[in-house]
C-alpha cells in the first residue's frame, strides 16, 4: 500500500523567523491543516497509452506544451468537490468545463469549474479531477488547492492531532 505524509515533523523551525523559533508538529497541523504536495495541470498524454490518441489530443490543445505545477493542497474533508485557485487555473490553461452556482455561508456565487489532472507522486496516483475555481491566493490562503471528498473517496486517511502526523494511502 502506498502511503504519503500530509502532516508535520514533531518540531520544526518556523520559516523566516529570526531569531529562529520552533513550532511543534501538533501546532503546525492545527494551524495549517493536513497538507499534501500535488501536481495539478492539464497533460493529456499521462492518461492514454495509445500514441495516436495522445497526438490527437495534443494537436487539439493547440500544440501547447503540457502545463502543470506542484502546489500545496489542503486535505479538506469539509468539501465535496476539489478546488483550485482560480488565478492558477487560468495560468495553467485548465479547460473550463462548467459554471455553477455554489452556496456558502456568504450566500450564492457563480464559480468556474475546471478540468485538470491531479498527480500525487508519493502514492503513484493520477486521475482527472473537477476543480471549482476559488480565490485562494487573493484570500491569502496558504494552499493553492483543496482536495475534497469526491477525490478522497477511494483513500484512507489517518490523522493524529497529538503529534501532528497525517498519513494518506490508496
Amino acid at each position: 500500500m502506498a502511503i504519503a505524509n500530509a502532516g508535520f515533523q514533531p518540531a520544526s523551525v518556523i520559516p523566516g523567523s529570526n531569531p529562529p523559533r520552533l513550532i511543534t508538529g501538533r501546532d503546525a497541523l492545527t494551524i495549517q491543516g493536513p497538507t499534501l504536495m500535488v501536481e495539478i495541470g492539464f497533460n493529456p498524454d499521462i492518461f492514454d497509452t495509445d500514441p495516436t490518441k495522445v497526438q490527437q489530443a495534443l494537436a487539439l490543445t493547440a500544440a501547447q506544451l503540457p502545463s502543470q505545477q506542484l502546489v500545496a493542497a489542503l486535505i479538506d474533508t469539509c468539501a465535496y468537490d476539489s478546488a483550485v485557485d482560480d488565478e492558477l487555473a487560468q495560468q495553467l490553461k485548465l479547460p473550463l468545463i462548467d459554471q455553477q452556482d455554489g452556496s456558502g455561508i456568504g450566500g450564492t456565487e457563480k464559480f468556474n469549474v475546471y478540468l485538470g489532472h491531479i498527480r500525487i507522486a508519493a502514492l503513484g496516483f493520477v486521475q482527472y479531477g473537477r476543480f471549482m475555481g476559488v480565490r485562494l491566493k487573493a484570500g491569502k490562503q496558504p494552499h493553492q488547492a483543496l482536495l475534497g471528498r469526491s477525490l478522497l473517496k477511494d483513500m484512507i486517511l489517518f490523522y493524529d492531532g497529538r503529534d501532528g502526523s497525517v498519513r494518506i494511502a490508496v
Binding site: L96, I97, Y128
Partner: protein, 80 residues
C-alpha cells in the same frame, strides 16, 4: 461555442437526462449531447481526445449544486 451555450443545451435536455442518465457524467459539445459515462475520469478522457481544451461541458446528472467549503471562508493564518 461558449460554455454558457453548452449549459443551456444541458438545461434544455435536463428532464430527459435525469430520466435516462441519472448519476452519470455527461458531455456536451457544440450544443449537442455527446455521451454519458460512469466516471468523471472516463468522460474527461473521451472529451479531451475528441475536443482538446474545449469548451465542452462535463457535468454529473442530478448532482447537487456545489457547496463552498468553509475553509475558503475562514482563512487559516499562515505560519510565519
Amino acid at each position: 461555442m461558449p460554455i454558457q451555450d453548452e449549459i443551456q443545451a444541458y438545461e434544455r435536455q435536463r428532464a430527459e437526462l435525469e430520466r435516462n442518465h441519472m448519476g452519470k457524467f455527461v458531455v456536451f459539445n457544440g450544443g449537442q449531447f455527446v455521451g454519458a459515462w460512469d466516471t468523471l475520469d472516463a468522460a474527461a478522457a473521451e472529451a479531451v481526445v475528441r475536443f482538446g481544451r474545449g469548451p465542452y461541458l462535463i457535468r454529473q446528472v442530478g448532482a447537487p449544486p456545489p457547496t463552498l467549503p468553509a475553509s475558503v471562508m475562514f482563512r487559516t493564518p499562515v505560519i510565519a
